[in-house]
Amino acid sequence: MRHLNNIPDLSGFGGVSVQVENVVIPLASCMLVTAFFIVESRRLRTSAYSYIAQSSLLVGVFLSIASLIPEPHFYIWAITAAITKVLIVPWLVLRTIAKLGVEFEEKPVIPTIPSYIADFSLMILGFWFGFNLPLPILKPGFRICFGTSLTLMFLGIYGMTGKSCAIKQTICLCHLENGIHLLLATLAYATPITVEIGILTDAVLAIAIMLYLSTLIKRVSGSLSTYRLSSLRW
């Protein structure tokens, strides 16, 4: 555990520093609150704004870690995340919403109350995995981030499958990508910047392509519901 020993006193993940926990836990908790709004809000703009809030919190996590551990490239992560996740991606999403003139998402597959129950169950599951996976590498401070990351991933997957609206599914993918970046920040924070740039570029491109496809789906089928597209049967 050499690299953790190199970060005396305030080692964020392995040393379970009080400082890191103090910063990361509130930010991670707020990310979970925004996750709920992203997945459950029927109004697409609210989902998009919640996503901006969540991405800003993620940038906050990056900045906090950068200020606490000797990994200067975390500042670059924070800047690139701010540009792509707080500015570019939300701009693309909001522009598509405006262009298509849609206000609310298509009727979701799962009704509201069962959907809330599913959200909370997935949150519990994410944290259960985060805290109980028999991985010696994961220390308690680290596990909070890992649990949050898993929860964001689970909720993202749930949103992408449980919601029928193409734009909502795209926003849920953005949300899932935030989970991935939180994971990278906690597990693979020493990777070269090229890796981070590659992963971010892929994420932005995936979202741009999905939004473009959403526009085509709306034009061809007259609706954004991907569940109405049923010309293919296995």
């Binding site: 590498i137 991935i180 090229t194 995936a206 085509l216």
Partner: protein
């Protein structure tokens, strides 16, 4: 030195420039000539790389970030054979396709641009020795091909494209989690941030990874790339994407795009194998058998020839997974089957594309031999070759895993699976080729030259079946490289 830097800088740059030119120049004779020259050069280059790997030479550059070993070179060779086949086939087929779907002929520049980017991403994936860059490139192949799957712009194509993109992007996330876990563990122990990134370094440090972490990470990697490879039960996107994409893209998807998933799994398994325990082997076997039976049995329920071939791909990916459970010989057989299946499945999709051009449909066809003897006969031979009939090279890779299996029950179950696949696919294609002749209007303008490419692909596997030594040598080097 020159070969290394040319492989890693000049060749990708050439493809990137070609992609931009394709988009800017637009579709026309000039573009066709440029593309044929560039793809021809790429094929020649991949043959050179394969030759070097046969001599046991491994190329690397940029501090081992890029490395071309036997596994890389065989995958690059496969990709380039398929790429040039799809390109030349597309010249005629896509003109038919755009007129059928009311698209602009000039807009085909975008199609060729995306095709070239896809080949570029596959190439970069194959030469990457960096586990994270490999992931980025596999994801990139999904993004570029999603456009190509939905190129027709009609409802079915868009649905298939959406499903493909959604499931692959989500699935690949799991692989990133697994990669990060392994990276993190090695970094944690060694303190060097590079030891967990490069495959060559991971292979050196794999034994220090704690078994539970390693098993969990391996499962995540298998699941993540398994979605891309179309392994059951993570295959839902595959039949739709294959059947709704233009035929050359179906050929590309069935061979090198799903191949990317299989390549990534094999690359990881080869690196992790010294430390993997029986759990991973059991998972590979379960996924392998599930894919074989689910894929091959589902073929019986299909009528659309492209969907039949799609389900056959799931079964064949199962064979690759199952073979991988028996290292080290299993790895060589898996690599070999990846090559054989790619070539033969691409050929089968292109032949179905021929049927589509000639009859305007790909289901309910009968008696093709009496109407178009060369097409019907090629179709039949191609399918028999695909199912491992000797003397084609797929025979070695389909029946080879039996030599590695020691348990007679497993051998029997595997043979039953292969037999179901053989019956299911040949039954439908024999009916298509030999059944009572149908009275369908045919497109007499359909160019017979479109048959040349799939026939050449079948002949490649015939030659490699009769003289298997070069292929066996390369595949044997694949898991030691």
């Amino acid at each position: 030195m020159i070969v290394e830097y040319a492989t890693i800088i000049i060749v990708p740059l050439l493809m990137a420039i070609t992609s931009i030119i394709s988009y800017l120049v637009g579709y026309g004779r000039l573009l066709k000539i440029i593309l044929a020259i560039v793809y021809g050069f790429m094929l020649g280059w991949s043959i050179l790389l394969a030759f070097l790997s046969c001599l046991g030479i491994t190329l690397s550059a940029f501090g081992m970030e890029f490395r071309i070993d036997a596994l890389s070179s065989i995958f690059i060779l496969t990709s380039m054979i398929i790429a040039i086949s799809c390109l030349i086939y597309s010249y005629h087929y896509m003109e038919y396709y755009v007129s059928k779907h009311g698209l602009r002929l000039k807009g085909l520049g975008l199609y060729y641009s995306l095709l070239t980017i896809t080949i570029l991403t596959v190439y970069l994936m194959a030469i990457s020795n960096n586990a994270f860059i490999l992931w980025v490139m596999v994801e990139a192949t999904t993004l570029t091909t999603a456009f190509l799957v939905g190129y027709g712009g009609y409802e079915g194509a868009l649905e298939a494209s959406w499903k493909y993109l959604l499931l692959c992007v989500v699935g690949l996330t799991t692989a990133l989690y697994g990669t990060s876990l392994i990276y993190s563990y090695i970094f944690d122990i060694t303190g060097n941030p590079y030891f967990g990134i490069l495959f060559t370094d991971i292979a050196r440090h794999v034994k220090i990874i704690e078994p539970t972490t390693l098993t969990l990470a391996s499962i995540m990697i298998l699941m993540g790339y398994g979605v891309k490879a179309g392994l059951a039960p993570l295959h839902w996107w595959l039949p739709d994407a294959y059947s709704e994409a233009p035929s050359p893209i179906s050929a590309l998807l069935s061979s090198i795009i799903t191949g990317c998933g299989a390549y990534a799994i094999l690359r990881w398994l080869i690196v992790l194998s010294p430390a993997l325990n029986w759990v991973m082997r059991a998972i590979l076997m379960v996924i392998g058998f599930t894919s074989i039976f689910l894929g091959f049995i589902s073929m019986i329920l299909q009528d659309d020839l492209k969907r039949i071939l799609a389900y056959s791909s799931i079964g064949n990916m199962g064979i690759i997974s199952l073979a991988s459970a028996y290292p080290p010989i299993g790895f060589a057989l898996a690599i070999m089957h990846l090559f054989n299946h790619s070539i033969l499945k691409a050929s089968a999709f292109l032949l179905v594309g021929d049927l589509e051009c000639r009859y305007g449909r790909r289901s309910g066809l009968r008696g093709v031999i009496s109407d178009a003897p060369i097409l019907g006969f090629s179709l039949l031979v191609g399918i028999l070759a695909l199912e491992g009939t000797p003397p084609f090279s797929a025979f070695y890779s389909i029946f080879g895993p039996l030599t590695a299996m020691k348990n007679p029950s497993i051998m029997a179950i595997y043979l039953i699976g292969v037999l179901i696949g053989f019956i299911a696919i040949t039954h439908r294609f024999i009916e298509t080729a030999w059944g009572s002749r149908m009275n369908l209007p045919t497109n007499e303008n359909y160019p017979r030259s479109m048959l040349i490419i799939p026939i050449i692909l079948i002949l490649i596997t015939l030659i490699l079946g009769l003289y298997p030594n070069p292929l066996l040598k390369m595949c044997g080097g694949g898991f030691t490289g």
